[in-house]
Amino acid sequence: MKPLISNPALPLRTFLRPIRALMLVLLALSLIGWVSAEPPKGRLLASQCFQCHGTNGQAVGGFESISGKSARELFEELSEMSKRRPEGIMDLQARGYTPDQLRQISEYLATLPRSGNDDNNGSLVEKVKTERKEQQAKKRNRLKARRERARSRKTRR
């Protein structure tokens, strides 16, 4: 195969094509990463929030999604929780980290895409509520049936 450069019949565009392709591949690979590069600061710490607030801070229901918000606001909120008189579970959770760790968590969470899934319904909660209502209805019906049986016995007498 003749070297491309020595063939005057080939326009420069054709000569550049494989180089451009190679550059694109290199660019793509640099974006994709091989094994991932050094983990982003705060990622491991922030992942401790995901048990309740969803993978990557996107909750699947109930608790608040925490991704893609302002790092400053997140940090202020967490700092306040860590200082105020503890009431809710988050006031205790926030006390588990140093101020610097809270800052790293806030900064990492702010880089994540915001969740479009801020719904507040838990299907299991609904299920238990429905079951409870059904049980109560059954109980009412049993009592009603018992009363009716008693009434009909009295009538027979």
Partner: protein, 420 residues
């Protein structure tokens, strides 16, 4: 919680379009291989996060069962408030969304010198080479002395058929009968769990109003978790149906007769819910990895969860000996530390020197109200151990209906963060 057909097809479509696959699956380097044994909260989470964070790592999860039944919420199945479907967690999302190779099989043996594991899969013996092996097999029960039969005196401390068996026994209880519940010696899986179960059974019996009672035989000298909320419930709300006996370690049992001899006297029950003492999962013990001073748990480095015996074998969740509570939530927390450390190791980097693990859980005290318990753990470089941050450790002031709602929200999210 298993993916229905539509969700399954949706996920499959995503995977085929290449959108659902982690980014570096598309790259063509030689992929490091991680084997994960045990598909509970720890194993599922480490497999998922290795794929989420780890670029082109090839992850294979070996699990005995086709799906996982969550111990979290399983006490509510025993009392009939939830069904088994509500606590069944499938592996479809791990396979399709995260590209984990899920193998249903039983591990036969580990060869740490050769970095190989042999498993029985579909009747054949298959050898899997690995760069890193993660063991998350949960706990194994230590059989009590006497004539012990878990089919007659169920523990229901691993959710599944045992949960249903105990549910059936409870619902078959007649009038003026006794339910015996034994609490194992610490450490055991889920510190508040047995007390939560005691409350669930007491609530059930209170509503039955048939003169039946529960006797709680605790091998420990006192309530091991949330002493205020469980103590208040035992001494107040449930005082007419519940008797709590501390220091009642089991000396021997006769499952067929329903009798237990304990350090605090002899007891007989119509239903005997015997939760035995516990140790690391069998594969950990059989592989010589249960090497802490008690010989029951695996000593690991809490920066990586690598075994002190073999650095390429990581052990997390209930089986490890760091002193952190044994629970699904903590297994999830440790799995993330382990996944991060393995990825760093493949990149030639040191582990994160300051990991935190956060623990939280909710316990129903009645069928309407739940309490919570929380604590965080920071790495202490001096003792090279995870130390509880005391300022972060507390139980709820009292059980509330909000707590009950939060419990279901918590469960839904931790199910999804681990298996979804």
């Amino acid at each position: 919680m298993k993916a229905n057909r539509r969700e399954f097809l949706g996920m499959a479509g995503m995977a085929m379009a290449g959108l659902g696959l982690p980014r570096s699956v598309k790259s063509n380097t030689v992929a490091p291989r991680v084997l994960v044994v045990g598909g509970g909260f720890g194993g599922a989470t480490v497999a998922k996060y290795l794929r989420l964070w780890g670029g082109n790592i090839e992850v294979t999860l070996i699990e005995r069962d086709p799906s996982h039944f969550s111990c979290i919420l399983s006490n509510l199945v025993v009392t009939g408030n939830l069904q088994m479907d509500d606590i069944e967690l499938g592996y479809e999302a791990l396979q399709i969304r995260w590209g984990v190779n899920v193998v249903q099989g039983e591990v036969l043996q580990i060869d740490p010198a050769a970095n190989e594991l042999t498993a029985s899969v579909g009747g054949s013996s298959i050898t899997y080479p690995y760069d890193k092996l993660v063991l998350s097999p949960g706990v194994e029960f230590i059989e009590p002395n006497g004539n012990y039969d878990p089919e007659l005196t169920p523990h229901a401390w691993k959710a599944g058929p045992q949960t249903l068996l105990l549910k059936q026994m409870l619902s078959a209880m007649g009038t003026r009968q006794t339910y015996l519940l034994t609490i194992p010696k610490s450490p055991y899986r889920c510190p508040p769990g047995p007390y939560e179960r005691a409350c669930g059974i007491a609530d059930y019996l209170t509503k039955k109003r048939n003169g039946s009672r529960i006797v709680v035989l605790d091998a420990n000298p006192s309530i091991q978790a949330e002493p205020k909320n469980f103590g208040n419930a035992f001494n107040g709300l449930y005082r007419d149906v519940l008797t709590y006996v501390p220091n009642a370690g089991i000396l021997s049992v006769d499952s067929a007769a329903g009798t237990i001899e304990t350090a605090a006297g002899n007891f007989a029950g119509d239903v005997v819910n015997l939760i035995p003492n516990q140790r690391a999962g069998k594969i950990v013990t059989d592989s010589g990895l249960a090497n802490d001073p008690t010989g029951r748990w695996a000593t690991v480095d809490p920066l990586t969860y690598a075994s002190s015996a073999f650095p390429d074998i990581h052990i997390l969740g209930d089986s490890q000996a760091t002193g952190q509570p044994k629970s699904g939530h903590m297994a999830n927390a440790q799995a993330k530390v382990c996944a991060d450390a393995i990825i760093r190791a493949f990149n030639g980097e040191a582990p994160d020197p300051t990991p935190v693990t956060a623990s939280a859980c909710f316990s129903p005290i009645t069928s309407e109200k739940a309490s919570w318990l929380t604590a965080s753990y920071q790495y202490d470089p001096v003792s090279k151990s995870m130390k509880r941050v005391d300022a972060s450790f507390a139980e709820a002031d009292q059980p509330t209906s909000d707590g009950m709602q939060q419990m279901f929200q918590w469960a839904r999210n931790i199910f999804a963060d681990s298996f979804g």
